[in-house]
Point group: C2
Chain length 414, copies 2
Amino acid sequence: MKAGILCVGTELVTGLIRDTNAYFFSQKLVEKGIFPKFVLFVPDDKQDIKTGFNLLLNDSEVQLMIVSGGLGPTDDDFTKEAIAELLGRELVFDQATWERIRQFYWNLRKTEPPENNKKQALVPRGTTVLTNDLGTAPGLKIDFFGKTIFVVPGVPREAEFFWSVMEREMNISVSSFYRTKILKFCGIGESQLATLMKPFLSRLPSEVRFAFLPNYGETWFYFYTYEADKERREELDRLIEEVSALYGDFLFSSYGDTLEEAIGNILRERKLRLAIAESCTGGLLGDRITNVPGSSEYFERGYVVYSNRAKMEELEVPREVLKDKGAVSAEVAALLAQGARKKSAADIGLGITGIAGPTGATEEKPVGLVYIALADEKRVEVKRYQFGGDRLMNKRFAVQFALSTLFVFLRGKG
Amino acid sequence: MKAGILCVGTELVTGLIRDTNAYFFSQKLVEKGIFPKFVLFVPDDKQDIKTGFNLLLNDSEVQLMIVSGGLGPTDDDFTKEAIAELLGRELVFDQATWERIRQFYWNLRKTEPPENNKKQALVPRGTTVLTNDLGTAPGLKIDFFGKTIFVVPGVPREAEFFWSVMEREMNISVSSFYRTKILKFCGIGESQLATLMKPFLSRLPSEVRFAFLPNYGETWFYFYTYEADKERREELDRLIEEVSALYGDFLFSSYGDTLEEAIGNILRERKLRLAIAESCTGGLLGDRITNVPGSSEYFERGYVVYSNRAKMEELEVPREVLKDKGAVSAEVAALLAQGARKKSAADIGLGITGIAGPTGATEEKPVGLVYIALADEKRVEVKRYQFGGDRLMNKRFAVQFALSTLFVFLRGKG
């Protein structure tokens, strides 16, 4: 089964905000074995909405359409008008929807909704109205000559809410697109990995499709197919297990879905506690680690020692070291990792110090220079990296490589 | 002038990776006064590429087309074939491009390129080849019945590189799309703001377009037009200044582009230093604050006091308070803000404690409950929030509202 996604919003096509809905729907569709063939963004313009909608409507393979956005109460919202005109179904006022909007408004603000909200109770004739638990705009389900069309609000959390509604309404049984589980590697580059795997991949039949995907310091690999019968699925599943066994030295996805989850699972299992001290990353390392539910089981605390004074006062970094070696040095990185570990009585300490930029560079120490240190009860190891991004990218890469270092260490220890 | 963007890649339509190229091009086009009318993602499939390409080609308003992706050396790359077939121009081998690819390869790896790279030297007849400084795939410029078509690689840094090439090649003189500067508000919801502004907006001529955009706890507002002559621009600029003056109580964009920049500018100007203590957000607040270049001027340090022991040891939160009131309480939030401020000798302390979820809730304290506290030399204020998102969303909202609290406080103080 193939699908098409149409997102309506001038703010999307003009890059004012970054799409989240299409990205979300794509992932959810694929999980259900539905292939999102086209993803389109169009502005808040009736004719442009029609053009985009028509592309999906006229594609014979697209059986499922998801349209999001343009359902608000203001004069800028044209989605329902565009669809009604294209499908030749007039807009009618839905009293039940209006009562729900009134109730929703009353619960929230103890007043009647403004008159312009009445527009949100208009639906194309022959539509199934889907109740919105989080806002005033209803969702719509329209069956049209064998295609199922869902129309949902563009507000991200409302769009996500409607995914569960769509799931219930769809009753999907067949699926032609199949992607194996994704192997995620850290600590090894795409080209290195591809070279390593070449002998294996070159022996595969040509109809086996695969992809390498570099993803901000991680390398992802998977097999996929557009014709997923049972046999083909099983073949690809066998192959991905084989790759996992053959090239698993830097594979973290066998431990968890994200690198921080993989690390968390190992820490939890071995009853190890982690403390961190970060300077240039400002808290991003702690943020990544605590994105994992239950991370309080193994994450003890973090020190964001941004100033030199903080480094001295919180983690006993000697003034002379800061003076002689500088705050961005292997020595300070080691002291941060050791200090965080010692002060918190954790098992492992992780430290980051670097120059995120754009300012702060010196002749010997360019923007993007980062030291990452890992300390346990026996020793401390320090690595030096030179990243080439802007401030946010350097922070992101520093955290990614700190997590990679921790994963490879934990894996080697196990 | 209007444009269309077509991104080719199965990894995009399936949500395996999140688009960055279309988002980047959209923003750049708008900066040049070009309106990106359609943005499309299609998979690595020749027919689907043709369908998407045709939509842009057949739209009479689209004068500029940017196609990115599908230019690699492997069998999965169809973009040039699809375009050549559609435009009726055969693919020819470009010797100069091949020599450049060989040279590029040699510089990088001291070997000859593999045979399959020859595919990258094929270009549709009548094409201007654009040199790629960062990779093997060349860019293409095709003039076709009044439309200008650019075809560039999908690797994000190469796509960005080609933007500067396109800029040179375009020679754009007119611009029809215009967006005023964006007013960004915090601490006030979209509907509240819209109600507040209604008397003003209802008096405007109907051809003045405007948009409200709720954006994760911020509300954005701007005017825009598709017919930007000088007069119209000036009129919209005047209007946005008027809105800014009339409804500026919660306006932070007059201080900086992002909320953390606005806060940073005020802190810097008033020579105030900030320290933070965060629990459920795990470092995300520090991360946001340190996304601003030069934040070390006012950001002293952060405490990620994830465990109860960390709260007691680092910030002297009494064991009895944790026991009687719980770690997620107004009392603990206040102690975190005051403790961070006192221990670091900063001027302002900001504290967050809450339940990000999905676990950790009790009968009285549901997931999404967050306390935010702000302390200065005179007093401490605590606010209670109940968010309704998942773990990541709750972290994000908690940080957003902590920053809003800080901004409104600083502004009131000024």
